[in-house]
Symmetry: C2
Subunit: 662 residues, 2 copies
């Protein structure tokens, strides 16, 4: 068999399975796998360093299908190369409940899938995090242990999304030369030809961001191979612009938007297979071709064994540390360090902003947690993220622990997902809390995947003052609390801040948002050995002089206000307790028993938060009192704002009294 | 006085006021106004077509300060040119409560401010909407009536934000040649030199998007003028890359990040003024310079008068129609058209997806509302946004009413804000509801400003089926409902969909989100003459056989489920009513009386929504039952998903029965 015939048949195996998977599901996206089958064949049979049987080998090349709708491309390859669990039955159950072949690739379902993709632009931006992690890990453990590529297939749509610009600018600036993006330039979008809405010269665009960029015919496998060769030699990240035909091989749909997102249909599927020379029953792969693909799947066995040899030759403590970090296990001593820090805070109480408390907590942690890497989307002096002794990462040196992400909140968030998924690091990054809106698609994807970056979100309310309503979060607490598996903490003082950092860093199953003030707050807490923030809410001040008549609930900066309101109410003869609620959604998730105990049975309940009420009724009920915001903020000094919006101890006391008397 | 001296003194008037404003406020951003004073002087004294006394003249050139933190630049110019209400006292009250000079420019506070800016990237993307609106309006009313430029000042940070890519790709593709962006390339970010995090060649990047792009010394006023001249002749949008010195004139802070976001301080302010030759007391402008600026402010009087002459010569009905559209008044007959459509639906009841119902409603509306322009972020066949007879807009012809936004949800949302702000059109655009996350910063800004685009958000729940959890909204309803001044509607059938469209189009004070299904829903409603959706919730089915023991609350596709649960409960002897809740937050905002009447006093309350519970406690209370989602969805056919997640009539009935018996 001529080489070119073999190449075609290898690619057609992908095409055939993609057609069959989509037909069986009666829905899905055949066009992209058919169009990119040649490129993927070249990549997986000639370049990818992987051992299909060992999908967790730390030094494997990573492959990210940014155009996640083309998932049958990836599932076909996983099956063809022999990935664990990817049987032909799974291909037949494409897009069915509980299968390993969901509509978009989900890394938490399917071995061999590195990251969950689907929302366009996320894959390429997450890949930047993978490439970052590789550079950082190599700088620490050496090229003998860490030396792999990150390959991406991205679509026209990926490159239209704004986040792609943040991603490529980061990759270009940091010269992530082991990042190689193969762009599926099929020129077709759902609405029709791409030319309906786009005329960007992508090669020139990537070059403007410092990338190496080349054009290639995506159906000329040798040309693709040459492009990948050149990419691997480049000192910059590479874009390989692959001109392809969507739905390649389909007589009536190739090159049209009809090929994108629906089954070909029985008749066209048959015509396409005949056209391509694909024989046999659905899901059947000729034995010689399956054998060739399986050989590709084990091409990396010797590389893996050599790596294991090199790794085994390292000192045992180095091996153990690498293994610990890659497994995401947290270092010993974290809890002790936090407790010691809490005691030091209690010994010398001082008013400070929780963003400053966060910096002090970091100073106490960074020494014992070398895998913690910090950064900010160009708000370092505002976010207080640059803890003591952290050295900046630069394009020339990835040995540092501090990343200047630039004004790219979304890109930072997606890259933090990638760093977290790659393994070896716990990323934490800062911006203003209002700009969680910019990060939101990546935060959500992290929550779905269970990545565990920490977001250091400062300037958390009208308390930021003069910058005004564009920068003052009012609905962002509710919006974050609503995302499943995101944990949002808004600590009330330096001790709670330390406790919330501990919970954030111990968490390994989802993102944590730390919501921190710009303004100073007094120390309200003792340095207890336990961590009461772990249940989301707890009584921070008991009633005085009898059974509680009033319970005040508050988070963050408003706990101080609640404490002062309590003093007024106590004076007025109403025994009042205060419940600090650093994490509303964590508390809502506690057992009914725990909730009943902490909510208590005082007849009057009032919540205080410089934000909208939305969500608080779960604790205080529709009849409860609420002191907070009902609309957007305003530009003014902080004190004027709290008075203007009526978020004061007096207003809280008045609200409680009215309810008590009414 | 030599011309160059006059030019310097005109620019220094801006610098002096910016320094003084920030000093008085004890906070703010002096560096940008000082750096861009020369560019702004050229623009406003030589090019901008405006009459400061008539800030609402429809054919004025628009100026958008994308780098909104440099607000003192704009306020200084408004004062210097004599904008109504911008007194020197307002400059002295920079960043104070209730002033016309908030921290970031707010168009709803200050005459002469075209759009609210601050979150980086929004201004430049909103400007694309302004330029779009100008082209569309000119295509309808002719160049005699509509012929203006849209000028933007953007910062390094604006261009780092991903949304800027969506904006420039749109502007380049549609050849919005009357959009001219002056980039304040000062090379300084908050963390330090821009080179810490960025190395994009912006001129090349803009060229790759089809822009005309030139480099210029931002302190050479004649060179800037020549660049603007060339920009105005270009058949493409233009980037003028202005190399500037941040904090220009400050002996110790110019060119450093210290100049960005804090007062210079008394001493440095004095040194700076001496260095620049600025004399006089704070906020004092030399009489000859103020006079020259005021002349610049009235340079456009004759152009305005000529325009008024041309406009007055139009036929009266054309004048009236232009005036109506620019004022945002809705056309007569909208309510009647909707009612007729509702009656037609009721006359031939059919099951259909609400995205299809939305298309039918649009078909009934587009004829009588010519200012309604529709579009989609490349999901036209999924969003059903292309109503009957709509013609596509293309770079060659802006006379159409349908915009292919490409896969640029965020850019679409910001541009819709700009179209809405410009006046003359009501924009509506579609994408999947899950991708409200991508649009969120622009939706929020629209809510703050009170723009009134309509978002047509389809595929609104796990009901989208096989595409899986990345595309299935579960928290997005809560996240949208939490934003002040955003109205979210999730209609339950074709008649509610028509009613919600009516409310969306009648609204002139904030964005509306229509949340629509992919799956078919039966017609549940009669075609009543009133619009019960207007209060957010209403009883759609009364109890049978006695006083209600159970009230079921539901929105959208789950109203059908609640109706079927009601049938089960009625059979079991529990009189059950159903309340349809097309807009939870609108209902929460009703009077206590209205709420009490609609919520009723049935002892058991259960809410049903294929989304998270967050927010529903405001109606059902913490003790109420909820049938919905508690985490992310999954990839499977719709029926499997509803069963898998237990959102069924049986589960709802069971929940109610348990509560009734317990």
């Amino acid at each position: 068999m001529a080489l070119s015939e073999l190449q075609n048949r290898l690619a057609n195996a992908i095409r055939g399975l993609a057609i069959d998977g989509v037909e069986a599901a009666k829905s899905g996206h055949p066009g992209m796998p058919m169009g990119m089958a040649d490129v993927a064949t070249v990549l997986f049979t000639r370049f990818m360093k992987f051992d299909a049987a060992a999908p967790h080998w730390p030094d494997r090349d990573r492959f990210i299908l940014s155009a996640g709708h083309g998932s049958m491309l990836l599932y076909s390859i996983l099956y063809l190369t022999g990935a664990p669990g990817m049987t032909v039955d799974e291909l037949k159950r494409f897009r069915q409940l509980g299968s390993k072949t969901p509509g978009h690739p989900e890394n938490f379902h399917t071995a061999g899938v590195e990251t969950t993709t689907g929302p366009l632009g996320q894959g390429i931006a997450t890949a930047v995090g993978f490439a970052f992690a590789e550079k950082m890990l190599a700088a620490r453990h050496g090229k003998d242990v860490v030396d792999h590529y990150t390959y991406v297939i991205a679509s026209d749509g990926d490159l239209m999304e704004g986040i792609s610009q943040e991603a490529i600018a980061l990759a270009g600036h940091y010269r992530l030369n082991k990042l190689i993006v193969m762009w599926d330039h099929n020129g077709i979008s759902i609405d029709g030809p791409l030319s309906l809405s786009d005329s960007v010269d992508q090669v020139k665009r990537f070059e403007s961001a410092g990338w190496h960029a080349v054009n290639v015919d995506g159906h000329d496998q040798d040309a693709v191979a040459a492009a990948i060769e050149s990419a691997r030699k480049s000192d910059a990240p590479t874009l390989i612009a692959c001109k392809t035909t969507i739905g390649f091989g389909s007589p009536h749909r190739a090159g049209t938007s009809k090929a994108h997102g629906e089954p070909l249909g029985q008749e066209e599927a048959a015509l396409t297979k005949a056209n391509l020379g694909i024989e046999g029953a659905p899901f059947e792969v000729p034995a010689d071709i399956l054998k060739a693909w399986r050989e590709a799947g084990s091409r990396g066995v010797s590389a893996r064994k050599q790596w294991e040899g090199r790794f085994g030759a390292l000192a045992e403590d180095l091996q153990a540390e690498f293994t610990r970090r890659m497994a995401g296990e947290r270092p010993a001593g974290l809890g002790e360090a936090i407790l010691a820090h809490k005691k030091a805070l209690a010994a010398a109480p001082a008013a400070m902003a929780t963003r400053k408390s966060s910096e002090l907590a970091l100073n106490a942690i960074v020494g014992i947690m070398p895998e913690l890497v910090l950064g900010s989307a160009d708000l370092t002096p505002s976010n207080n993220t640059k803890a003591k002794g952290l050295v900046e990462i630069s394009p020339q040196d990835f040995g540092g622990r501090y990343i200047h992400w630039g004004i790219r909140e979304h890109g930072m968030a997606a890259a933090m997902n990638g760093i977290s998924l790659h393994g070896g690091f716990v990323p934490a990054g800062g911006t203003f809390f209002a700009f969680t809106d910019y990060c939101r698609p990546a935060i959500r994807l992290g929550a779905l995947m269970g990545t565990s970056p920490v977001y250091v979100m400062t300037h958390d309310s009208i308390g930021l003052g003069e910058d005004g309503p564009t920068h003052q979060p009012v609905e962002h607490l509710a919006a974050m609390r609503a995302i499943p598996n995101v944990r949002t903490f808004r600590p009330c003082d330096a001790i709670e801040t330390a406790e919330c950092w501990q919970l954030a860093l111990e968490r390994r199953s989802g993102p944590t948002i730390l919501v921190l003030t710009r303004q100073n707050l007094p120390l309200l807490r003792e340095a207890t050995a336990d961590n009461p923030c772990a249940q989301g809410a707890y009584e921070i001040a008991a009633p005085v002089g009898g059974k509680a008549e009033v319970t005040l609930f508050a988070s963050g900066s408003e706990v101080e206000i609640a404490m002062n309101a309590r003093a007024i109410l106590n004076q007025r003869g109403l025994p009042t307790r205060v419940v600090s609620v650093p994490s509303l959604e964590l508390f809502i998730g506690q057992s009914d028993e725990v909730k009943a105990r902490i909510i208590g049975d005082a007849p009057v309940k009032v919540a205080v938060e410089a934000a909208v009420r939305f969500g608080w009724d779960a604790i205080i009920g529709p009849e409860g009192g609420f002191v907070g915001m009902s609309g957007f903020g305003a530009s003014a000094p902080i004190k004027d704002l709290y008075n203007h919006f009526g978020i004061t101890p007096e207003a809280v006391a008045e609200t409680a009294l009215r309810r008590h008397n009414g």
